[in-house]
């Protein structure tokens, strides 16, 4: 059989199937309900989930997917389990050689913070979050300095009394429009404002230690001012890997380096913890995948139920049209052609159901996205889920239409024509 002939037969089957479905509108509608509901629910779930995913990943993205943090942490087991905080708290010198030993780490910044009163002329702002950061912080945190200059390595080495503020702090303190060069008092020390940095977009999902800060000073300036006595100021490290993909690599390099420097014997747990955004992304994606798989599985069950309905109605159809099948065979329809006709009818029926389901699900997702406060504004249907739904529907039609189609194709034309 030539390819043109095949196309003609296929086209003929589709036309026949549509005519058949149209002439049994109500029955076709009822039959495909299972498929419609199945596809609609998977579509809605996937659309909502994709919307959520887009939003969360977008926030991670704005945070920087190659960002990482190193925190001191008391282990759950081993001899350090009961050690005092000072035993495993970070000291600045601990990280002096980290960059040289961790090639996957691009930038590092030691970070410390304090809550202090800030004064400009006669205005006093109480309990301001002050963050001490190094020059590398500017590279990790993609916040541009809109006025003045960023921190340099020298600011840190010399513990200079310089500060960078954001516009919010500038307004709160009533600083002039160009505050660079203005003197402010932080705690008890005088600082010179050297720059203004853009504000941080608040994230609903990821909190990072200094994200609320509106006032920044060099790390060593703040750290040293708080040293004294037995109290060790809290510090942690922020960094970025060379690429988001290198994050895991960077983590193991950092772990290796810190265990070596801290002389942690093999087998004992870490006294620190490395967190990176891309792992959070992975965790979220994993969760989303699990939800998708479960939703798809549930939908799979409803599609099987729908498929049984399709099989049932196709069997009824074959039985009702026995004489027609007999006649078609008598005038020259081959068994394979009859098989194709009924198979195509089942597939077209399922595809129509799938299409209606897609529309319903899409409408439902749009409805969800219109509800404020759900955080699903960006709900949309990814192409893969459309194709999945179409594929699923066609598959159900093929699988459950096969038996009735085979039955039709095997009918003996003489018996079929005699059928009442």
């Amino acid at each position: 059989m030539g390819p043109i002939r095949l196309v003609v037969i296929f086209y003929q089957s589709v036309v026949l199937a549509l005519a058949q479905i149209w002439s049994n509108k109500l029955r076709s509608m009822l039959t495909t309900t299972g498929i419609v509901i199945g596809v609609a629910s998977v579509t809605a779930v996937i659309a909502a989930l994709t919307g959520l995913q887009t939003r969360v990943l977008g926030e991670f993205e704005s945070l920087g997917t190659n960002k990482m943090w190193i925190f001191p942490q008391r282990p759950d087991s081993g001899p350090m389990r009961t050690a005092p905080f000072t035993a495993f708290a970070f000291r600045p010198a601990l990280f002096d050689d980290l960059l040289a030993n961790a090639p996957s780490v691009r930038y590092l910044s030691r970070v410390t913070n304090a809550t202090l009163n800030v004064k400009y002329e006669s205005r006093i702002e109480e309990n301001v979050q002050v963050a001490g950061v190094e020059a590398g912080w500017h590279k990790i945190e993609n916040r541009s300095v809109t006025m003045g200059r960023p921190f340099t390595v020298l600011d840190d080495e010399q513990s200079r009394p310089v500060a960078i503020i954001d516009v919010k702090m500038q307004n709160r303190l009533g600083l002039p429009r160009d505050p660079v060069g203005s003197a402010i008092t932080i705690g008890s020390r005088r600082f010179v404002v050297i720059g203004v940095i853009e504000e941080k977009v608040a994230s609903g999902f990821v909190q990072d230690g200094i994200s609320d800060s509106e006032l920044f000073v060099p790390f060593s300036t703040l750290y040293n001012s708080r040293r004294g006595g037995q109290q060790l100021p809290f510090m942690y490290v922020q960094g970025s890997s060379t690429t988001p993909q290198a994050a895991a690599e960077a983590q193991s390099e950092i772990t290796f380096y810190l265990r070596k420097v801290r002389r942690i014997p093999p087998g004992e747990p870490n006294t620190f913890r490395v967190e990176f955004v891309s792992r959070l992304v992975d965790q979220f994606n994993q969760l989303a995948l699990v939800v998708t798989v479960i939703a798809t599985g549930i939908v799979g069950i409803s599609l099987v139920v729908g498929g049984v309905g399709i099989m049932n109605i196709m069997l009824v159809s074959v039985s009702e049209r026995t004489r027609e099948i007999g006649l078609r065979k008598a005038v020259g329809a081959r068994p394979a052609t009859i098989l194709l006709q009924f198979l195509v009818e089942a597939v077209v029926l399922c595809l129509l159901g799938g299409a209606v389901g897609l529309l319903l699900g899409y409408g439902f997702a749009k409805g969800l996205s219109a509800i404020p406060g759900l955080g699903l504004q960006s709900a949309y249907l990814p192409l893969w889920s459309v194709m999945l739904s179409v594929g699923f529907s066609a598959g159900v039609g093929l699988v459950f239409g096969m038996f009735p189609a085979i039955k039709a194709s095997r009918l003996d034309p003489i018996d079929a024509l005699r059928h009442e």
Binding site: V8, A19, L327, A330, V331, G332, P335, T337
Partner: protein, 238 residues
Amino acid sequence: MLRLRGITKHYRVGVETIRALDGVDLEIAQNEYVAIMGSSGSGKSTLMNILGCLDRPTEGTYTLDGKQVSSMSAGQLASVRNEKIGFVFQSFELLPRMTALRNVELPLIYSKSGWWTRTKRAREALVTVGLEHRVDHRPNQLSGGQRQRVAIARALVNNPTILLADEPTGNLDSKTSEEILHLFDELHAKGQTIIVVTHEADVARHARRVVRMRDGKVVADHAASLLGAAETGTGGVA
């Protein structure tokens, strides 16, 4: 053109074997008009099924247009039916949801070459049976005679070697029957080979040759003009 040699057809019903056909030899030449007669159970329906390539004989050979059809597969037989046989049934067998034109097109839908010209040829076939003004009517909008004409148009549309009619007037009144049989006469005059299976002598009288069946065997094969004048009505020949 058509040759049956030693055709038998056996059916198993339980433990019993029914010999529906028991060694039939038959030859039909081109442009013959043959009536196959016999009472029910004589094997004439089985013979028609085999002649129409709807069924395969248990034994024997059937050659149609030089092709050995008795050993063909179901798919090959479908092609032979499509190209060489035009069926006319007692109960018309029109598809109720289709117009006359679509019904007539049906064989061409399954034809290798006819698909592209199906509508034109279907119209021509409807003209042949005198129904050019009923092209877009559905079967339920047509009279019995018109329905059978549509069915005949369908049988003719692919230029079959044989027009095979099974009790074509069985569901029609005598006036309409005469019209249909007159149409058959016209087709025969144009060169169409026609085989009519019937138990009515009035129908058989239109043929040129009569083949009588009994108990699965051909018991007589003679010119239709030899049909007795007494053999009228539905009684047939015992």
